[in-house]
């Protein structure tokens, strides 16, 4: 049955090379923890991706309830946390996942660094990785404001004040993020848009580049 459907589509679209490009490759022994336990360090990239997927999915569910305005933001999060079935779990996944994904990303970066995997010919992938790194920090910063409690409010205030102290461009950055003179209604909608559309879009594009390069170059050889 499935095979027939697959063949029917494959006849028309020739999809076999597509998935082969994506997935048909070998996993060499030196990165396979089944052979060398210490090779678990090579799993951190995959785990980062796994948690990133969790973040995207849980975030999609959060936006079903979250209302990005200063009157309803807190109330909607509170409602989600205490009234909605499984809301506490979904919010918890997104909240703690945000920390976990950063931890995994740090570990992955350290693995790449200490195995010298950023060296030629993988320089570009390292630079893309660093861009991902900054996007992730940006997601963490913008997401922190969204529950609109005091912790969110004052952390954002301090953060933007620090950015504003940069000479010349600082005031422009602050203006862009605040959308006014204080952390207020405009700031919240901007952070929401950045957190939910701009940065995830950029992240997905960068991840695509990251994986394409890994696939093209293969994993780095044994040390």
């Amino acid at each position: 049955m499935f095979k027939n459907v697959y063949n029917w589509i494959d006849e028309r679209l020739d999809i076999t090379p597509l998935w082969r490009d994506v997935a048909d490759h070998e996993v060499p022994e030196h990165v396979n923890p089944a052979h060398h336990f210490s090779a678990f360090v090579y799993c951190f990239g995959g785990l980062t991706f796994f948690i990133t997927v969790i973040q995207i999915l849980s975030g999609m569910f959060l936006t079903m309830y979250y209302v990005p305005d200063i009157i309803h933001a807190y109330a909607s999060v509170d409602f989600l946390q205490h009234q909605v079935a499984f809301g506490q779990i979904v919010r918890g996944m997104h909240h703690f996942g945000a920390s976990l994904v950063i931890v995994m990303m740090f570990l992955h970066t350290l693995r790449v660094f200490f195995t010298g995997s950023y060296k030629a010919p993988r320089e570009m992938n390292w630079v893309v990785g660093m861009l991902i790194f900054f996007i992730m920090l940006g997601l963490g910063f913008t997401g922190y404001l969204l529950p609109w409690d005091n912790k969110a409010y004052y952390a954002t205030k301090v953060g933007v004040e620090i950015a504003a102290s940069v000479p010349y461009i600082g005031p422009y950055i602050a203006d862009f993020l605040y959308g006014g003179d204080i952390v207020g209604a405009q700031t919240l909608t901007r952070f929401f848009a950045i957190h939910v559309f701009f940065l995830p879009g950029a992240l997905i594009a960068m991840l695509a580049a990251h994986f394409l390069m890994i696939r093209k170059q293969g994993i780095s050889g044994p040390l």
């Binding site: 918890g92 909240h95 195995t115 529950p147 293969g218």
Partner: protein, 284 residues
């Protein structure tokens, strides 16, 4: 199948179009150069990865269910005493900017100079460290710089956290999300609903009811003028806990421990009934 083209054709087109049929985007890299046993990604390795993924997911869910995500009180821009606290992975930068020579007059060095050099160097690592050697113990400069940076970041994070705990102790406060969670737990233990921080002062319902004036005459000494509770418990929301009959009974006979006096001598049965009907409406 599209693979069925005759192999002696020079250019193969996709179907009946003028689009040239491309070869595979990528022939899988040949790992025969690497020592040992390689394994097919699909399906062998992927299955193992999924098993690990399931274990990770279950562990993660257990953590998430055991520990609800924190939520403090609604943002109040006029709150001057709140101690700001970024998320943990920004603490190293936050702490760093508190030191002299990277703050105030020198803040440029703190916001741009040093972080710029550090992150710039990290970003350009492949172009700064161009040697062929990959093993970290043969790259003493790169490895020791990274270890030093790591140690500094951990140190700054710990100092920042300590400082925060110290500030909390000094101001004799606890973080708002803890305070709120504690209050909610206590309220639930008392059988009251979870306090909603958005309803600032919950008001009495139907304050123009004639029972209100009886209550003002008799009850506010112990239950407070706004009925938020003093010697006796809050009467706002009492309707959640008690039925009209139970309320009538406690007004008539007092509480079993005698802390709440009986009113069957001071109020008529009719007045008590009025009170009980009105109090039973006090739901939150």
């Amino acid at each position: 199948m599209a693979h069925g083209h005759k192999s002696n054709e020079k250019v193969v087109f996709v179907g009946d179009s003028r689009v040239k049929k491309a070869g595979m985007f990528q022939t899988p890299p040949d790992y025969t150069a690497f020592p040992g046993k390689s394994e097919a990604f699909i399906p062998n390795f992927l299955l193992k990865e999924w098993m690990v993924g399931c274990v990770v997911l279950v562990g993660f869910l257990v953590w998430v269910i055991a520990e609800p995500a924190p939520l403090g009180y609604p943002a109040d821009p006029t709150n001057a005493s709140f101690i700001p606290m970024p998320d943990w992975y920004f603490l190293f930068l936050y702490q760093f900017l508190k030191y002299p020579y990277v703050s105030q007059d020198y803040v440029l060095l703190g916001t741009m100079g040093i972080p710029g050099i550090m992150f710039g160097a990290l970003m350009l690592a492949p172009f700064l460290d161009t040697g062929k050697e990959r093993r970290f113990y043969r790259r003493p400069i790169a490895s020791s710089l990274m270890l030093l940076t790591l140690a500094s970041c951990v140190y700054l994070t710990v100092v920042s956290w300590d400082h925060y705990q110290h500030m909390l102790a000094e101001n004799n406060t606890i973080p708002e999300h803890h305070e709120r969670a504690d209050k909610a737990r206590e309220a639930i233990e008392r059988g009251e609903p979870r306090p909603n921080p958005l309803k600032k002062a919950a008001a009495i319902i139907e304050a123009d009811d004639p029972a209100m004036s009886i209550a003002q005459a008799q009850c506010i000494g112990c239950h407070a003028a706004d009925f938020s509770g003093a010697v006796g418990p809050a009467l706002i929301g009492v309707g959640n806990r008690m039925t009209q009959e139970e309320i009538a009974a406690i007004i008539t006979n007092g509480s079993e421990n005698g802390a709440m006096p009986h009113f069957n001598d001071k109020l008529s049965a009719e007045e008590i009934d009025q009170l009980a009907v009105w109090l039973a409406k006090q739901t939150q």
